[in-house]
Symmetry: C2
Subunit: 535 residues, 2 copies
């Protein structure tokens, strides 16, 4: 195949010969293919591309390649990552694969900025020993976002290149292979997409609005900010699971298609299921609890949860990722709170220690204070929170739920008083919690339930669950729930159930609030809300 | 609260007094609760239970407890796990929490088998110093599957107790607290549920059929076999992720609700989405590929995939867990195959090394040969497989797909010839693969695609994907696919896309085939098929 013919410098003649032979072979293959497909119009792009190199002399010019895994395999052509281009590599001849971030031609020179993930490096082509006039022209005409392989010599620079992540070196390019060409017109510019919001306004430069970003997510995800957000989010999941596995938890998989809407039937998506209807699970709670009743003792799961809620706020999605925990305890549900808060603390520490580059990168576009937390985690009772809010002038009843503004205010008061961005609010009023919440044994107005907050916003809701079928029946009746619809749930507790508690964490919220971002759509790769189902 | 009053022996009087005070308090609380709830019928079970201990003298009798996390927290009452009851603990006074697996009264004695997860121990109550007549009677009347705390002395036994996992010790019980009572009539017996299939028939003993198991999954999951299967499955996920994270992969989360059915629209579940309709994702493939186009380079995800296929076979589910991989490669898609096969090998090794107890436990009920694999993994070309099958008498065309019986036959032939239960079949005929499959550059009849097999059954299907919008358009047209419907998919490749390949693994199939089981419903906690939506 053609690709293998275009490699060693100074072998043009051999190449020309083998190229002829290959062309012949290719034509034959082309004929066979056409015959087989019986569609005269379908000429393979692969073949077109390979027979249309931009130039014939590899050493001096560019080349278009189409990677369809022909037998060519270049063990001797290792690729160096952009992030590894440092002064230690000075004067080395290397290959790099990267995107063209920007391109600027200037007389007989062409300056490229090459980008791979969060990392950028400057590359220079100059007419002379290394590059022909045609090659510089070829390079100058390459579209931004195209992926290229370049062979180049690494050169130390006198003055730091402030605009690149690799500030101490540049590449002197000798060959360019185009791996994949981008269309010339991009739906958004990456420079605009990483500009801090205020800055754009002041200098009259463009920023990119959220819908444009999300409509063109494939490009928006290439920004240094997006790369950092989602690498850090991958870390959140990993730290969550590793911590729990160390604590003896078992990972479970729970079904998302369910036969009955467990929590009363509101806000549930309906699915057609063969000749009947089903629902999408609003939470894995029933299944987590069944696993506890089946002696798994400590379980967690990571998976999508679905809420058919018509909420168009900065923190609601119709589909998000739940990090769910359920745990049998020995004597007191605070054992479970302690396990969850310790897990959160391990996550915060892991992010701080392993993802500092990503945090700094996000901060450049979205500045925020470092996330603060205490050890052990601060636990306040609901009563105390109400007292703090009242002292700050809020009027509210003892058994009234917290409004979103009051949650945020409370977050600020707690931060002032205790200097933490993370805390637990324990002992919610029984009246504002679901029927399966265990009442407080010491005060019937309250319950063994808790929320956890990051920067004043809720990230987890949890409780000790009623593990006794009779009490559960009574509580459901008290809430006016149709017992027939939750029969399977209640029956799960009839054959011996250990006391247990748990909770569900919203992954996107954790990432958003840890980084001090302001919209959960920034931390969901492909967010779903009442108005968005694409891409 | 009452619970805390019933603890130390020899303090009966103090207890009686504090109990009175507590009863008074409780009555008052009860009144307040009643008033607040304004429902005369709703007497809290919690309170009923606490005021109805089975006996007043803790030391000598049993007691019913209701764990609602009253302030009692027993730091001095550590619980020992059943699996840790070994001769080293002989003569120690300990507390154990476990289920009553079996119970047998015999004159003045009562023998219990206590069970926690996969582990069992014998416990003995005898009228005498330690236990009163009433207590033995109380113990004898406890229902199977109830959860109890026992205080007991660990005793070495002369003769191994063959029926228990802890064969060298038994417990001499002094106190019993009931944590949660089971109903007397169980829908299935755990002894029946772990009986090997043949054995039941021969001895005229019952086994439990699959529907009964699944209908009562909370109990069926308590068997040693189920406990082992799902602990091992948790290990599969963990090994999969750890291996990939070590290789530099990033975990991504992809949406399950999608706006268009990507693969032609057959076998897709429809969801009502506010005022419009949506679909459940049949695979995360489009989103994995978008992440590749967004420079994440190596991604994986673990999540549910949905297939509205009316297949009622041993290996099809309508919802299963996909372990998905997508990876940009440098020069050849075999780089990706190598990454995937190495990941599978790491999983097999990890299971073999860390889950031997679980494997042995499952083998007791479902005997199978140990799983064999080679390093490096065997890779056969489709052509070779067809030749092997033809040599074995099968008639099939070059470009014909493998039928399920032929896959199994091939598995046996490969096992005979190469002694492996795991291999890759590479270079499938282009005609039998989806439109986005990259054609083989050397032979237009074939493609850069592959399946992987365990014990002769497919566990992964994958390919190099077409990363060029123009070729993708042509391939889609060739397949007669409405271009309008896949516009977003094709557009993803217009702004520079690296060559890439990937595949999706079915978690339940991996667990099933690794353990040599015969139905994928055994390895799905709550399986979904065209006929089953519950529990």
């Amino acid at each position: 195949c053609v690709v293998s013919s275009c490699f060693r410098a100074g072998e043009e003649e051999q190449q020309a010969q083998s190229k002829k032979a290959l062309k012949k072979q290719q034509k034959e293959a082309e004929k066979a293919a056409k015959k087989a497909e019986k569609q005269a119009k379908l000429v393979s792009v692969r073949q077109e591309t390979q027979t249309l190199p931009m130039a014939h002399h590899c050493r001096m010019e560019g080349f278009l390649l189409f990677y369809n895994s022909c037998d060519y395999k270049s063990a001797d052509r290792a690729l160096v990552r952009v992030q590894d281009l440092t002064p230690e590599k000075a004067e080395q001849q290397i290959w790099v694969r990267a995107r063209i971030h920007t391109s600027r031609a200037k007389g007989k020179q062409c300056f490229l900025v090459l980008r791979h993930q969060q990392f950028t490096v400057q590359a220079l082509l100059a007419v002379g020993d290394c590059a022909s006039k045609q090659m510089v022209k070829f390079a100058a005409n390459l579209t931004k976002e195209s992926i290229i392989d370049v062979e180049a010599v690494v050169k130390k620079v006198e003055q730091k290149i402030e605009s690149c992540s690799q500030q101490d070196v540049e590449l002197h390019v000798e060959r360019i292979f185009v791996i994949s060409q981008s269309e010339a017109r991009l739906p958004l510019q990456l420079e605009d997409a990483v500009r801090p919001e205020g800055e754009g306004d002041e200098e009259g430069r463009a920023t990119v609005n959220q819908d444009t970003r999300l409509d063109n997510r494939v490009i928006d995800l290439r920004t240094t900010t997006s790369q950092s957000i989602f690498r850090l989010q991958s870390g959140v999941c990993q730290l969550f699971r590793d911590t729990l596995i160390n604590k003896g938890f078992v990972e479970i998989q729970t079904p998302k298609i369910i036969s009955a809407a467990s929590e009363g039937g509101a806000n549930v998506f309906t699915v057609s299921y063969f000749k009947t209807s089903a629902y999408l699970a609003q939470s894995p709670q029933l299944y987590k609890q069944m696993c506890i009743c089946a002696d798994f003792d400590k379980v967690f799961c990571v998976g999508p949860v679905f809420r058919a809620e018509d909420s168009n706020t900065h923190r609601h999605l119709t589909e998000f990722v739940g990090l769910d925990i359920e745990m049998a305890f020995n004597y007191h549900y605070h054992e479970v709170i302690d396990s969850i808060t310790d897990t959160m603390v391990q996550i915060f520490k892991g992010l701080r220690d392993r993802f500092q580059t990503e945090i700094q990168t996000v901060n450049k576009q979205y500045p925020s204070e470092p996330f603060k937390f205490l050890e052990p985690t601060l636990r306040l009772e609901y009563k105390e929170a109400v007292a703090m809010l009242r002292a700050a002038g809020v009027e509210m009843g003892d058994e009234e739920d917290l409004s979103t503004p009051n949650e945020k205010l409370l977050g600020r008061l707690v931060k002032e008083k205790y200097d933490t961005d993370f805390y637990v609010l324990d002992k919610y009023p029984l009246a504002v919690r679901p029927f399966y919440t265990m009442p407080d044994p010491n005060n019937p107005k309250y319950s063994n339930s808790y929320d956890m907050f990051m920067r004043g916003e809720e990230i987890l809701s949890g409780a000790q669950r009623v593990h006794d079928a009779q009490l559960l029946t009574e509580r459901a009746m008290h809430h006016g729930i149709d017992l027939e619809k939750i029969k399977a749930y209640i029956d799960s507790f009839r054959y011996g159930a250990p006391p247990h508690a748990g909770g569900g964490i919203g992954l996107e919220r954790v990432t958003m609030l840890y980084l001090g971002l302001h919209n959960v759509r920034q931390t969901s790769m492909f967010p779903r809300d009442p108005k968005r189902l694409t891409p």
